[in-house]
Symmetry: D2
Subunit: 307 residues, 4 copies
């Protein structure tokens, strides 16, 4: 009991156009540790507060976007049970054997109705760059760049987000933390939690499937959000919006782009979510405030630029 089943977002594989520039971005600017370069050229990175071997995988490709996002579950038995549950619902579930990524055990993979590939896994080696365990100091090395602590969540865009949300809620045990709805009751955005964070996965309705809106990294505080903004200008990085705050989740945020055009977020704050919390609801006329609490208006990029 307590936290079981799906525990958290475990990894995301992102397509990048130029590996060298991407490593500067994710390692030196965002502050991830490069764990290793795979034999096939993929880069495996992790944030300093994560125990597992890696959480961010970069794959060089011709166009940006997200290959897949994987969630860690609490045990191999749970993995098997959840896989069966997904299969029973009619989804095609593929097993990827252990070792396809270094340190990672077997995974179950499926395509959600919005065209995104999601995965489940229960076993990953511990990283040698994880937090200390014996008489632990705060960190091995001083945090670097934007000082990302964790890979936090993804926001993805697609057509039938209700159907994708049903899989996560009904089959995988996620809770709805917040949603935005039209006057007709149609969901335009839904924020799903598998633990105590305001969101581990967010879905926004969009005219095209399989799109990535952003990959988000956790920072410690609003102070670090400000420092991240300083870095973005110092290094001429492409910024979407921020520093600002979301009405949804209450998180403090900057949206910016990696060198390939994938949107990233640095995120801090937000409330502690519990499954007995009432669902926070936003009406479409307040969508601006929901997304950008300070500006109280959406920008076009938020609605249209995805990879």
């Amino acid at each position: 009991m307590a936290l079981t089943g799906v525990l958290r977002p475990g990894y995301v594989q992102v397509r990048v156009l130029d590996m060298e520039a991407s490593l500067v971005h994710y390692r030196d600017r965002i502050g991830l540790d490069l764990v290793e370069m795979g034999a096939d050229g993929r880069a495996y990175l992790k944030a300093p507060d994560e125990f597992d071997h890696h959480s961010i995988i970069l794959r060089e490709a011709d166009e940006p976007g997200m290959d897949f996002m994987g969630f860690k579950v609490s045990s191999d038995e749970v993995l098997t049970a959840l896989g069966r549950s997904l299969s029973d619902s009619g989804l095609s579930v593929e097993e990827v054997a252990a070792g396809e990524q270094p340190g990672l055990g077997r995974r179950l993979s499926f395509f959600a109705p919005t065209g995104h590939r999601f995965e489940l896994f229960s076993s990953m080696e511990l990283s040698s760059k994880g937090p200390m365990i014996e008489n632990p100091d705060l960190w091995h090395d001083e945090p670097r760049g934007m000082k990302a602590q964790r890979f936090d969540h993804c926001l993805v865009y697609g057509i039938d987000i209700d159907a994708t949300a049903r899989i996560f809620v009904d089959l995988l045990g996620f809770q709805v933390a917040e949603k935005a709805v039209t006057p007709d009751g149609d969901t335009i955005a839904i924020f799903l939690s598998c633990g105590m964070k305001a969101h581990d996965l967010a879905l926004v309705r969009f005219g095209e499937d399989a799109k990535l809106h952003h990959v988000s990294f956790r920072l410690e505080s609003w102070h670090d959000i400000g420092h991240a903004a300083d870095l973005m200008t110092r290094y001429d990085m492409s910024v979407d919006i921020g520093p600002t705050r979301h009405g949804i989740t209450r998180g403090q945020t900057i949206y910016f782009f990696d060198p390939s055009g994938n949107r990233n977020e640095v995120f801090s704050g937000g409330y502690d979510f519990y499954p007995d919390n009432p669902v926070r609801q936003w009406t479409a006329d307040q969508a601006g405030k929901a997304i950008f609490y300070y500006e109280r208006a959406l920008n076009d990029r938020f609605m249209t630029v995805v990879t």
Copy 2:
């Protein structure tokens, strides 16, 4: 799945010597909302970020200390099942009927081997002072005093903390986040989580049972910890130690006392805990750093002053 079973600390009933002074302390200084005064003179308070009717109960008495601490569970079925599990283990479980506290449903109560009374409940009315739900702003009213967001956890002292910990781990599904051990392998302190916080309940070995070390409140950031320290001096409040940081949990902290001598804590930061994290272990020779990371030494009060 996800977060089920025991969700979080729900309430704590604290004995105070002078209700008027205590209300100034908890309401005006710590920043809780006074929900109502009960017919029997008890005061019901809550922090602004909590949905439930109340989380802190003050009872006027001749000596300070903790009457009981209650944990919220995910459903009435779970409540029944956990109660049976406790009974089956040989504990005497008493049911307290709904309504003994305003807004609170039936509870199951038991005494742990360390002499502390713990309770479980699944149902509490929503407070009208909880977070907004429809197009929510950050808060109704500007945060006040130390700007406590939530009742976070308790640390209690007693003799056989191993036995009490076993109940929480084996029967109630808690996880061990951190512990401190002697060279002989005896546990001197253990930090237990039922969700994603580094601790929801902490136990320290002590020569006497049924003792309260502190009741902790969540603040947003180190900045707010500093502001809390400013308030403590401005209002001549009794401070134990801080601002400092814990090695255990990594939380930023001040220990201080309410007018009755009960220790309080304001707490921010700390890592996100997951049940697959390795247990962080501290050796006895590093206990100073474990407790007070900056001072790297215990003070006598930490070890001896309890209520």
Copy 3:
């Protein structure tokens, strides 16, 4: 020696359309103390960290804007000498007798070439709401609203800013901290310091004279800037831009509007200025970054909306 002559911005008189709404804005939101309402209906306010009787004067009028801005000088002798210096330069200097504002001694008043009325004074009564002097606590009362600490500076718009700047530099002893220049060498903005702040008065070239761009208030930190932004949305205040940072001065900032349309700023950070510092220079093509370091682009409002 050390700091002599003109010490700092002492007061600004702002025209407001609705006194009641303005008091809510400046007192409850920005966090100034209302010192007194004058017999003629003007409101006198001050920030908690100021010793003098008042720093902000609100006058109800039919259109918004700035009536005048006054600088405090170090002594009555200096006041006389500076007045003579201004007169000798051909400016018409008017003496306003003590008592025209409560607590304020005699002032010397002149119109700068950009049409703004500036004043000098050396004597103002101490406020009973100033900082403590004997065994001082941080503050009498907990800071309120945005927690403004001081009236910091004004930015004004006008045609011949070079001529106005010459008065402040050549006659009043100000130093140029930063300026922005066109490729032809024309100054488009100039930031003047009479002490150790990056600016006490700023001038921007504009097609019309006697215009107020903003009145700025000092906050303690970026954290407080964020809190101010939270308040602005909570209370539906009109925001221009921010939270962001200026390239010029390095200050962290939000521009927003009072209920009459006068722009205000809350400002924190910025470097310590010394008169031997090289003048920091900005080229016109970098004006966006100079003004809004994070956005790296000007918004139209910055250039056109003044009172």
Copy 4:
């Protein structure tokens, strides 16, 4: 006018026992830039926000302490005039020729009644590591370690602090910002400002002359004070006290020691001082709160450990 005469603390020469360890301390931990190693083995460092060639000079010696502290004055004429003024008062003033330190012009040196050697200078080369001047970014390189921005002030201990204070006030134009006095009216501590900072030099009465209590470095905020504390434990540095706040100056602080036993301080916050501010006075019975606002008690080290 405005800021003239003595501008600020310009440099301090500190004796260290082990140059290598000291460089790790001042460069890697505190975050200064090493400008150059002199031919005679002295190390010249500066903080990133300073324009001048250097501000901290380390000299390897057999015992720790301060060789001298130098103040920058506004011009060579002022330097000559101040030197004459010191001589006329009966002090022996020695001129040190330009070039004794790299980048530094001629200096005037004298011993104050408390046995400390102070210097005045007006000319120092600009450092190539100073702040940017043309379209300046916030910094060249990301701030490092504790992210010191400036050398801020020194606190020195000696017998006749009144006599030393008179030199700074009567001859060098400093202002008294705060002082602590015994019931008999004897000054036990005095805080002197030559600009807008709460102190540029502080003197505490002590039974021995020529002692250094601490060299202080400016940090940006309370957040950075917390980060500095994290570093001190991470690198097993010797800490005196903190994070805490001073009642005097209101600064947020940590006292710690360099590897040679010289006390350092990291300092943030504090009010803007102006020469027309009333002198803040502390009585001896409130000395604890004056020095350590949170603890409200002095520790022995503060009173006795000096170099």
